[in-house]
């Protein structure tokens, strides 16, 4: 397995509370991604990073923010969680953002917003 860990692995939180999910990699890959997975939708890109302090939005970025202060860590924050953000969140990494580079996925975080 690629050296990717996600924490926490499971979380239950209440509507309106802030939540931060962490992705940590030991591969020194430049690119990191956050996806959410919902039935029937596959995985959808939330935000991605192409270097320390360099981030950009994906297709479902509303209600989410990210930060990357170190190569190995990529944080996803839900400023005020809503029930529609109940999902499984996956972090992924890749060596490059161009060319035919495989994305390696972490084990996922199951988030429930009540």
């Amino acid at each position: 397995d690629a050296g990717i860990t996600q924490s926490p692995r499971h979380k239950v939180t209440e509507t309106g509370t802030p939540v931060t999910l962490r992705c940590h990699q030991t591969e020194n890959h430049r690119y990191m991604y956050w996806y959410r997975q919902d039935p029937g939708h596959g995985l959808r890109l939330i935000h991605y990073s192409y270097g320390v302090k360099d981030t950009d939005k994906g297709e479902v970025s509303d209600g989410y923010s990210v930060s990357r202060s170190k190569t190995e860590d990529f944080l996803l924050t839900l400023e005020s969680a809503t029930s529609s953000q109940t999902s499984v969140y996956f972090c992924a990494i890749s060596e490059s953002g161009t060319g035919y580079y495989e994305q390696y996925f972490g084990p996922g975080t199951r988030l429930t917003v009540t």
Partner: protein, 112 residues
């Protein structure tokens, strides 16, 4: 806007049979066509991928067929095994940018 449509949503096949999953896309700028495999409780993992300069690629029991004019590509699993039971996603992308666009997934169950 549904850029990538995958079919069927689910598939049951007997051990030794052939599983076929199709993926149709709209964006003609896509130039990288991977299939990812996901087991329950795990993240997806790259299974096989094809570039648009070839029409078919085979790796073991897994084959991708690519039809550029129809904007479709498919995954064939030959001699399906119970260990192939998983969810499969097509995820076409543009090589410049490496942002995958996932299909909705196909849950494959191989019965012994």
């Amino acid at each position: 806007q549904q850029q990538v449509k995958q079919s069927p949503q689910s598939l049951i096949v007997q051990k030794g049979g052939i599983s076929i999953i199709n993926c149709a896309y709209e964006n003609t700028a896509f130039d990288y066509f991977p299939w990812y495999q996901q087991f329950p409780g795990k993240g997806p993992a790259l299974l096989i991928a094809i570039r648009p300069d070839v029409s078919e690629k085979k790796e073991g029991r897994f084959t991708i067929s690519f039809n550029k004019s129809a904007k479709q590509f498919s995954l064939h699993i030959m001699d399906s095994q119970p260990g192939d039971s998983a969810t499969y996603f097509c995820a076409p992308s543009k090589a410049a940018g490496n942002k995958l666009t996932f299909g909705g997934g196909t849950r494959v169950l191989v019965k012994p």
